[in-house]
């Protein structure tokens, strides 16, 4: 029954202690929390590396996955044309076939690595940009805290 009075009293006590809600600070912190949630996958892991390390790491991974895919496709193709190969067992023809396969493998690999390089270089640039904004917001928040603690100290000095 005494709830309204209690609330009002609590508000006054809070105001006296300097516990008023700082709207700008809350907005800043909400923005930071939202960015952190979104950046958990895309920005923070990227930020741990230099650009060269990040992109080359992904290119090595791309090389391995492309090679794996080619081996799997080659296996399927061998199953498909094993009869034809066994029927015309000609060394020169087989060598020519191996050369062709090697050529297409290297060509595809170069294209795939180029795509990987473009994608991850762009992602790194985007993450670096996002990180700059994040740091600027953190800096602003830190300043807000500094100002607040400065105000509290000066108020404390006046009371004494």
């Amino acid at each position: 029954m005494h709830l309204p009075c209690q609330r009002a009293c609590a508000g006054e006590v809070g105001r006296e202690r300097g516990l008023m809600l700082n709207e700008e600070k809350i907005r800043l912190m909400t923005g930071l929390a939202m960015f952190e949630k979104r950046a958990e996958k895309d920005v923070f892991p990227v930020n741990r590396y230099f650009k060269g390390d990040y992109v080359s790491g992904h290119m090595i991974r791309a090389f391995l996955s492309y090679t794996f895919s080619c081996v799997v496709c080659l296996g399927l193709w061998l199953l498909y044309s094993i009869e034809e190969i066994l029927n015309t067992l000609d060394i020169e023809k087989l060598l020519q076939m191996a050369k062709d396969i090697g050529f297409y493998y290297v060509l595809g690999l170069l294209v795939y690595l180029a795509i990987t390089w473009i994608v991850y270089a762009r992602r790194y640039a985007a993450a670096a940009k996002g990180m700059k904004i994040y740091q600027a917001k953190l800096h602003r928040l830190a300043k807000k805290y500094e100002n607040q603690s400065g105000q509290k100290e000066s108020e404390g000095g006046k009371h004494q």
């Binding site: 996958k41 991974r61 791309a62 996955s65 492309y66 794996f68 895919s69 799997v72 496709c73 296996g75 399927l76 199953l79 498909y80 094993i82 009869e83 795939y112 990987t116 994608v119």
Partner: protein, 320 residues
Amino acid sequence: MMALLVFKEKLKQFYAKFNIYLVALVTFAVGYLTFYLINSNIGFMERFKNPLIPVVMGLLASFLPSGTTAFLAGCFMIAHVFGVSMEVALIILVFMLLVIVLYYGFRPGDGYLLLLVPMAFFFRIPYVVPLLVGLSGSLVSIIPVSCGICIYYIIMYMKQNAGVLTGGTMAEAAERFMQIVRNIFGNELMWVMIAAFAAAILIVYLIRNLSVDFSWSIAIIAGVTIELAVIFIGDYNYNLPVSVQPMVVGVIVSVILALIYQFFVFAVDYSRTEYLQYEDDDYYYYVKAVPKIAVSAPDVKVHRIYSRKTAVRHEKNNGS
């Protein structure tokens, strides 16, 4: 029009209020339908044909990422196909590995397209897919859409040829394997559909980004036209088994769905377009600003007003 806009606002409010449940419900529906369609079309393994499996998988899908649901659906499909033909199961496995390793290694986040494209084919409205993808996605989405088309035609191939593919000796198996590869990857209808959808996505994407009035509507019409043109060219060249009547119905429904999507996502008023021009130290800016159509949903509150007589009688009754 006004009533529709008010309805849209109400829907938006409803979504904002219950979005957690709605998203879970939609993902459940997608998951359930995916596994139900697999069961009803290529349910060759009796053990997996239990009607509870789609429900359980739908529940799982409601909190799993769409890519994971697509992966589980792929595994489920392989399990069914394995019951009839090991060769086709092997082909699907290789196909899945290639898509996962080469495309999903980039983490594009559009795994839901692998589920929705075959689903749209089963509901006979596949033509809506390139329109929506072109309007909302990027050009890279051509890859998962093409993969979705392949999955649909593999399922259809299995459905139509299950009897022929069962059993046989090893020698027959080798021959059958060649036959299957030739039939699946030599299916001209599949390649024509992939070409039509890729062309439509490209055209819709390019036109909707143009700075012309009604760009989204023009994009939808152009997308449908290019789809039909490519399919008719393919039909003319390869004599494809395309029946015109269901295609026309599918196209009309697809256009309507795309227009509804446009209404919800991109409702603007071109009659109030503003053209601005200004400059700073480095650039001149020529800006075209098109206002969004916005109405606020009416907030109806009922006030009860009692007449003086009734109020007085009320007081008297209370007093006595």
